[in-house]
Symmetry: C2
DNA sequence: ATAAAATATGAGCAAATATTCATATGAAAT
DNA sequence: ATTTCATATGAATATTTGCTCATATTTTAT
């Protein structure tokens, strides 16, 4: 049960349903979890990164191959791979000069599938 | 099978594995689907919107209540609700002056759950 | 009719982000 | 050793985006 007083400092409207607000407040996950969740989806929220991940569903690929495939600069791809690496969505192995990237998460496909279901249903 | 010639115009590197590139190219979903998918995740990729959606998991709420709950401006919430509305993630009903928002997609929770699994596993 | 309240919306601003460009790094080949 | 090639990275730029502020809209109450 919440004993928090409702905070009026920033909000510019009067509370209409204080009971609802308090009940919902208690049901919410912690701030940190919600932030982390948004961060994950932010990584998915870019066409280039989505394309890279879909490519890696099919096969591990080196940076150059991905650049050619997506018709983009090697640099642009490298930058995005860094984002994906930091999010631990891809991993890599080096073979001489060439760096091969591949997926590092079995849930990506499931997340994407749910997203696609949403899209196709709302058409 | 793809008969496309690899495009060198924008990419600045030589193709290393043309066979892989062509095979992956054939396996990729259409440009439009990938774009739409990124758009959906872009909507999820913001803390405020994630919070709003989590709040609506618990209960339908009016704009003012959400603003109080999240300690944000009514205007800010209204703007974000518009984004969620356009993505068909929320719906609303009017009751006099008050507009009640609620979830408009049964998959949201599943998408979030997959995202949370990813987070908790990588800790 | 007028005022008040809940919500929506457009313009402006600040912060975040994706790409480009130039260059650095590291490994193989000569 | 030097050159070449694949990749990484920092700085700069352009675009996008979330919020604020002011104001419009809509509905209820007086």
């Amino acid at each position: 049960m919440s004993e928090n007083k409702v905070d009026f400092e920033r909000c510019d409207c009067t509370v209409i349903h204080e009971d609802v607000v308090n009940a919902v407040r208690d049901s919410m996950p912690h701030e940190e979890s919600l932030y982390d969740l948004a961060e994950v989806f932010k990584v998915f929220g870019d066409t280039t990164r989505i394309k890279i991940l879909y490519a890696l569903f099919a096969s591990e690929m080196c940076v150059c191959d991905i650049a050619v495939l997506l018709n983009m600069t090697q640099s642009a791809i490298s930058h995005q791979l860094r984002v994906l690496k930091q999010a631990r969505l891809v991993k890599y192995r080096k073979e001489g000069k060439v760096v091969y990237y591949s997926l590092d998460d079995e849930h990506i496909k499931q997340i994407f599938d749910q997203g696609l279901i949403h899209i196709t249903e709302k058409k």
